[in-house]
């Protein structure tokens, strides 16, 4: 069953409204997903760091208990350092997320242009169809013009034969003929313009689609780069997540007898917390600063 113009336009409007909602919702979901990836990766990294700190504390003093009052000072220190550590990672992820956000917004812009172009194409198709239908009537128009021409000729002949002819009639007919010619030219120019607009519109749609595809792949790449960058940040040596803070070999050999003689909190600070804080500062000054330019 062939759709009427009204039905076609109703469908187009529904498509336009649905597309607008989908494009905007998709952008919000994408942005939320990017945030989720950042949070998950950072949580994983911070938890790994926290576990490695705990492990090292127990390596220093196996009798050390988390519930103990003596642990409170260390606990505060660890908590502050981990917050600092987490903040550095958040700054890092913000750098990547900002880039991704710009790409998502550019994608929204391109997708809305694409939707506009799709509607424009339907509109131009409709106009071309109408023009083509109109063209089918050209034969009728041509015969009308021929008739006008014939009448003019007859009038001219009568005039030559000195018969009475109203000169206004001739002028009028000639004017009408000129209008007919002018309309023909306008019609021809108009349909050429519509076809040109349609081709331009098609080229634009292809460009929009290509750029959208590139943006999708770029978003995936940056998101992956962000994850790796978070995993690599403030790590020592290899590129994988450090399972433990650098092991302090000397304490591995300490016997239970000597352990009680150390002030565990001070040892934890000088051997675990201070080096970690130093790494955080170096990371902020070097990598983060250069990223932010």
């Amino acid at each position: 069953m062939k759709l009427t113009n009204q039905q076609k336009c109703e469908n187009l409007l529904k498509f336009y409204d649905d597309s607008e909602n989908n494009i905007k919702a998709d952008a919000l979901v994408n942005r939320a997903y990017i945030d989720k990836v950042s949070k998950q990766t950072i949580n994983e990294k911070v938890n790994a760091q926290m576990n490695s700190i705990k492990t090292e504390i127990y390596n220093i003093n196996p009798k050390f208990k988390e519930g103990s009052k003596n642990y409170e000072a260390t606990k505060k220190l660890v908590s502050e350092t981990l917050s600092n550590y987490e903040q550095a990672l958040l700054d890092l992820s913000s750098f990547y997320d900002g880039k991704i956000e710009q790409l998502i917004l550019r994608k929204v812009e391109l997708e809305s242009s694409l939707i506009g172009s799709i509607l424009n194409e339907e509109y131009l198709n409709e106009n071309i169809e109408k023009r083509n239908n109109q063209k089918e009537n050209d034969s009728v128009k041509k015969s009308v013009k021929d008739n006008i021409k014939a009448v003019i000729e007859k009038i001219k002949n009568r005039r030559t034969a000195n018969a009475e002819v109203d000169p206004k009639m001739i002028t009028n007919l000639l004017d009408q003929q000129e209008v007919a010619i002018e309309l023909d030219e306008q019609f021809s120019n108009n349909i050429d313009k519509i076809i040109k607009d349609k081709n331009d519109n098609k080229d634009s749609m292809e460009k929009f689609e290509q750029e959208i595809s590139l943006i999708n792949s770029e978003i995936d790449k940056i998101n992956e780069r962000k994850k790796n960058s978070i995993y690599d940040a403030m790590e020592i040596g290899g590129k994988e997540l450090t399972p433990n803070v650098k092991k302090i070999k000397i304490f591995g050999r300490i016997t239970r007898f000597f352990v009680s003689r150390f002030n565990t909190a001070k040892v934890v600070q000088s051997t675990i917390i201070d080096p970690l804080n130093e790494r955080i500062e170096i990371f902020k000054v070097n990598e983060l600063s250069s990223m932010k330019g």
Partner: protein
């Protein structure tokens, strides 16, 4: 997220505005959807009317 939602709205508007004559196209489609086939008849810059006059 509200700030981002606003940016999304702006980007959408910016993209649509880049399409030449889009508001005219949308308006014609809306009219046709509401008033049957009458509106699209008006898209030919009165050319049809002038031809009819002939």
């Amino acid at each position: 997220m509200d700030d981002f939602k606003m940016k999304v709205d702006e980007s959408y508007k910016k993209g649509i505005e880049k399409i030449p004559n889009f508001q005219k196209v949308l308006s014609e489609i809306t009219k046709t959807a509401q008033k049957d086939d009458l509106s699209l008849e008006l898209t030919n810059n009165n050319l049809d009317d002038r031809e009819m006059d002939l």
